[in-house]
Symmetry: C2
Subunit: 108 residues, 2 copies
């Protein structure tokens, strides 16, 4: 488990890949900070998670695509609930500034 | 349940009191945004929560005091875990800018 001193610190960002850091985990919940720099999910890839997820964008912009083709653009300070097993993918993320996600997962 | 369009939007802040907005709640978790503008817990008051709490400061500064007298100052982007039944109080919060807390609570 890697700890960040600061949620806004972009120094662990990588241009070549998304970086996920677990800020907290126990048997019930998991809290992650994810820094994206323009990455998106591969075409045709869908997340299908066992956990509920509440995710917000702390900096930059990220866009989620749902299986029906609709999208949800999250600007800085916006959030979305992704219930377990609702298939989704990351459609796009900003690179400048990096997209900093804060995600809260819990079992249901 | 009041929904915010944006975590950073300070427009619901009140100089006279702390404002708590529930962003999400279900039987397992609760997510709150709290805007403080200089308020602190009353002297001698201690939170003693049944839930675990992970809380971060999105803007401004807030300080937590523990029952042993030690304190944890949270600057913008910093966070702390407050396990259930660990007694604590809010020692101080910034007014300019307001202290915007984002708190995740879960049962344990």
């Amino acid at each position: 488990m890697k700890k960040n001193a600061n949620l806004y610190d972009p120094s662990s960002a990588s241009l070549s890949e998304e970086v996920t850091e677990t800020l907290y985990v126990d048997e019930w919940v998991r809290i992650e900070r994810i820094i994206s720099t323009g990455q998106a999910s591969p075409e045709g890839f869908w997340y299908d998670q066992k956990e509920n997820e509440w995710v917000c964008v702390l900096e930059g912009q990220g866009a989620i695509q749902w299986e029906d083709g609709s999208t949800k653009v999250l600007d800085r300070g916006e959030w979305v609930l992704i219930p377990a097993h609702v298939r989704h993918r990351v459609l796009s993320t900003s690179a400048t500034p990096p997209c900093i996600w804060l995600a809260f997962f819990w079992k249901c």
